[in-house]
């Protein structure tokens, strides 16, 4: 990439403004003020991206799902219903916020606030351009995994503090599902790290730029695993068993009303958008697009890719029915994890071949991409042919549900007792 203009008004690299201000402060002020200021500017920039995006996302999501389901969607407030999110927010703020009498008062207040922390921290390591990154951690991938792990705790606190059985069920489901799906996500990111040799997100994008190849083509199975695992961690409709309204009312946020519920809802959308951005960064080349980033602002390219992935997420949400928890679990442990392990081996072998031989990388990488695509296709077809079908037809009730306390055994005993009584 050619050198940027490096002037503050260069729209392709918005970090120029921050650099300019920081250098100006360094001219007269102490060092710590300059670094504090650069951190502050970065955080404000994240908020400036996240806030308006969130309002827009609510509208986009509702409108698109309505389109998919042959409805109109919001169309009353403002042009084409564009101000509906604002109206929703005002309504939620004005609503009474109920606190259950038996709830844990202190812990009940915390989760709607805490849940924003991981959702915002994710954006800290996301590169919007070659220089546009709040913190270029050399442990960026691990950092993301650590952040997504803390999300579980917040939801658990929400479910537990409500002192409501449905809330607790929802929280337990979230934990079970998130912890299970974290394994394939980690495995898929491990394959990415193998190839790029970097855990920094900018390093991963730069590797894709150097090799002129997006990782989606090179590691399709890892991309698929990451996408499915990420969707599971978001609790969105194909996998929203944590708040399945036909089973457990609204899951962990059953007892949250008014703006507290609104915050959970907002964070859910925000996490979905962050996942799209991560997917775009890891597998679609991030801010890089075959040289176009020299003409178009790189952050616009990233936003375009993110929107594409987000559209797929909405598409899934609008069309797929909800899975059962045992289907989700068996899909994770019987398909995603073995497939991820297999792909780790493949990626390790290919990486070693790349390092140890002096084959032409422009030939070797496309060949590997073809091999990996074939492996992906084979694995998916094999699973669909063998395990996929029977699994859906013959549900195995989870072992906990068949104990003395309830489930099928209890139902059978009840049926027997009723039959004996007659």
């Amino acid at each position: 990439m050619t050198a940027l203009l490096a002037a503050w008004y260069d729209l392709r690299d918005l970090s120029g403004i921050s650099r300019e201000i920081t250098e100006w402060v360094q001219g007269w002020g102490p060092e710590w003020l300059a670094s504090a200021l650069s951190g502050l500017i970065g955080s404000l920039a994240i908020l400036a991206v996240v806030g308006p995006t969130l309002l827009l996302l609510i509208w986009v999501e509702r409108k698109l799902i309505a389109r998919i389901q042959v409805r109109y969607g919001p169309n009353r407030v403002g042009p084409r219903g564009l101000f509906q999110p604002v109206a929703d927010a005002i309504k939620l703020i004005l609503k009474e916020e109920l606190v259950p009498r038996a709830a844990d008062k202190w812990l009940f207040f915390l989760p709607p606030v805490l849940v924003f922390i991981p959702a915002l921290l994710v954006w800290g390591v996301l590169p919007f351009g070659p220089n546009m990154q709040v913190a270029d951690l050399n442990v960026g991938v691990l950092y993301l995994l650590a952040i997504s792990g803390t999300n579980v705790l917040v939801i658990f606190i929400a479910g537990w503090a409500s002192n409501n059985k449905y809330a607790l069920f929802g929280a337990m489901r979230v934990i079970a599902m998130t912890i299970s799906y974290e394994v394939p996500v980690v495995l898929s990111l491990l394959a990415v790290v193998f190839f790029t040799g970097s855990m920094s997100l900018n390093g991963i994008v730069q590797w894709q730029q150097q090799e002129d190849l997006i990782l989606l083509l090179l590691l399709p199975l890892a991309a698929l695993t990451f996408f499915i695992g990420g969707t599971a961690e978001l609790n969105r409709t194909p996998m929203d068993i944590a708040e399945a309204e036909s089973e457990i009312v609204a899951g962990y946020h059953t007892e949250y009303s008014g703006m507290r519920f609104g915050l959970f809802y907002a964070v859910e959308l925000l996490n979905a958008f962050a996942l799209s951005a991560l997917m775009a960064t890891f597998f679609l080349g991030g801010w890089w697009l075959w040289g176009l980033e020299e003409w178009v602002p790189s952050w616009l390219i990233l936003l375009a890719k993110t929107s594409m992935v987000y559209f797929v997420l909405i598409w899934l949400r609008g069309t797929l029915p909800r899975l059962r928890i045992d289907q989700l679990m068996s899909f994770c442990w019987k398909f995603l994890v073995p497939a991820g392990l297999l792909f780790i081996v493949v990626a390790a072998v290919e990486r070693t071949v790349l390092l140890e031989t002096d084959w032409d990388r422009t030939v070797a990488l496309p060949v590997m991409a073809v091999i990996n695509a074939a492996i992906t296709l084979a694995v998916v077809v094999l699973y669909a042919r063998t395990a996929g079908g029977p699994l859906a037809r013959l549900p195995h009730a989870p072992i906990m549900a068949r104990g003395r306390v309830g489930g099928l055994r209890a139902a059978r005993e009840l049926a027997e007792a009723a039959g004996g009584g007659d």
Binding site: N138, A146, W160, P395, I399
Partner: protein, 199 residues
């Protein structure tokens, strides 16, 4: 190391960690104690960050906040009456005395030891260095840990596996499930229509 930011970060993190640790000891509710413990873990992770050890900081959050505390929460949740209504126990005073002695000993050691200060610069690419030493120099302990973890995983699966005695019952209940008319059974169900018929 002597900049204002460093001192500000260190002292605020130290106050958070120690305050949260005190909260663990003082709080009567076990879940509150675990939440305070998590806060203490986060504070310690922040202290690692101040020392430019990003890798250890992130792993601290990943392992302690993300995994171990969830394990603790589950353990408390699945123990009847452990989460709420924690009554006083007679072991309170002996435990206080014991922990007071342990704390005093540790503080004494920490203050009296002549710690060898390392003045080297932090390693720039710590994950790379750690990974290489894990694979090259310390490969045997690394593999032993891997085998141990696999054994633990297999053990957990063996514990949670279905009881063979349940298997015939399971098949029966499945058969019952299949016979039962309804949306889960085979064949078209009367309720599965588009709702137009019943309206």
């Amino acid at each position: 190391m002597d900049s204002v930011g460093y001192h500000l970060a260190f002292w605020s993190l130290a106050v958070i960690s120690v305050g949260a640790a005190l909260g663990v000891v003082v709080s009567r509710n076990l879940i509150h104690a675990v939440i305070f413990l998590i806060l203490a873990f986060v504070g310690v992770a922040g202290l690692y960050l101040v020392l430019s050890a990003e890798f250890i900081a992130v792993v601290q959050v990943l392992v302690y906040v993300g995994a171990i505390s969830v394990l603790m929460l589950f353990a408390i949740l699945l123990t009847p009456r452990a989460a709420r209504d924690n009554a006083e126990t007679s072991m309170r005073y002996p435990a206080t005395i014991l922990m007071g002695l342990v704390t005093a000993a540790m503080v004494f050691v920490a203050v009296e030891t002549d710690w060898a200060a390392v003045l080297d610069d932090p390693v720039a690419e710590s994950p790379r260095v750690i990974g290489q030493s894990l694979i090259n120099e310390f490969v045997l302990p690394f593999e032993i840990a891997a085998v141990l973890l696999t054994a633990a995983l297999v053990g957990a699966i063996a514990l949670a596996r279905e009881d063979p005695e349940d298997a015939p019952l399971h098949d029966e209940s499945l058969a019952m499930e299949a016979r039962r008319p309804g949306p889960h059974g085979p064949g078209p169900s009367p309720d599965d229509g588009d709702g137009g018929g019943s309206a």
